[in-house]
Symmetry: C2
Subunit: 235 residues, 2 copies
């Protein structure tokens, strides 16, 4: 946790917060914080700054905070991801949140196992928890938007073309395609497939919606690694 | 497992292998393989090709194999990593193996907890297991070399300068440094710090050995994400 993220409910005055639970435990166990310490803080979906620890006991931490810095900017990106398996889903959510992706759309694909859609990790509170861990890691305050699209065809036919309009539309897919471009200047719509990749029909439908297939080389990367590698190359 | 990796002990003839254990279980449970199926195979530290499943039962799988393709090339890189915490270590080993890093040196740092050096995940067999998972993921056959250096100062003073000679030497470090270069043409020696980063003394010693600090932006990434992001940008 490189940033102590504060929620509206933590504020007991305009410049004063009271914390308990996970963040209190982290302050005590990991930061080994003491009264008087100064910590990096940020208000969820708001500004960042510093907090001074006024009081600390087993039940609560009280801090006075000064919030005057904007959070880091987000990437100009809409990321489409075939729904990963539950364990990977949690890590991917942290990764995209820490890397500054503002909008993620989880999509069905032929190679997404039906059972993946049943995971409790897709519930809003579970998604939010992982996104917040990513923000705390990267020192950001703004929650990415996460959208769930369980039906591939209607989404790709009816909604994706307007999302992709005016952006560089790309599908990350191993194969005999051009290499993923580097350091692009325009906004991007990027689709990344499941373990095993998109099927040819899906690559074609994505292409029809404005997303051209690009590759990263011979090596097949795990979804989480592919996300990081593609974003790092593009931006 | 995108490649069935064969070891010398699996061969019962020049073009015939007998498998049991983890790989047999994977063939049955995940690939749902059947006699006659053709699978991508590779010989550890050797060529890749295809294998045909001749026999499959609860005890063994027997394949005839044809090995005629070279594995993908490695990155021209020596990667120095401050030893990560044990759980992260395992994932990092898979990541570097899948991304084609040929040589990794795990190094001490002020912010590496002493207990991390006690983990059983540092034993040669445990390291090898994770590297092999990375090779199977990426479709590579060549094990990276992993070197353990428990003492920072003697390594950085006495050995690092000769490793870095003739390469682009870089230390990934958040701060007011130049941005990490993109798409470099020469071999690289890259050092990545622990969670919390190198201390200033370490950055200075690395710089003295020929590694200039470079940054990736305001966001603080987990070690595993930083490794992928830096490699994807550099190569």
């Amino acid at each position: 946790m490189n940033l102590l993220l504060l929620e509206d409910g933590d504020f007991i005055a305009a410049d004063r917060v009271l914390l308990s639970g996970r963040r209190l435990k982290h302050l005590i166990d990991v930061h080994r914080a003491e009264v008087g310490d100064s910590l990096r803080v940020g208000r969820l979906n708001g500004l960042m700054g510093s907090g001074q620890l006024l009081r600390l006991d087993a039940e609560h931490a009280e801090l006075s905070v000064q919030l005057d810095q904007p959070p880091p900017s987000k990437l100009p990106l809409t990321l489409l991801l075939a729904l990963p398996r539950p364990k990977m889903l949690r890590r991917v959510l942290q990764t995209v949140s820490s890397m500054g992706v503002p909008r993620v759309i989880f999509l069905n694909s032929y190679r997404v196992e039906k059972s993946f859609w049943q995971t409790p990790f897709l519930e809003p509170a579970a998604i939010r928890e992982q996104l917040i861990l990513g923000l705390e890691q990267a020192r950001d305050t703004v929650l990415p938007e996460v959208i769930i699209e369980k039906r591939f065809k209607p989404f790709v036919e009816d909604h994706l073309p307007s999302i992709a309009t005016g952006t560089l539309g790309l599908t990350g897919h191993p194969g005999d395609y051009t290499l993923c471009p580097r350091a692009v200047e325009q906004p991007v719509t990027l689709a990344i497939g499941p373990e095993g990749g998109w099927i040819p029909y899906e690559v074609e439908k994505l292409q029809h919606a404005g997303l051209q297939p690009v590759q990263l080389g011979e090596r097949i990367l795990r979804v989480e690694t592919a996300v990081t590698a593609l974003l790092s190359r593009l931006f």
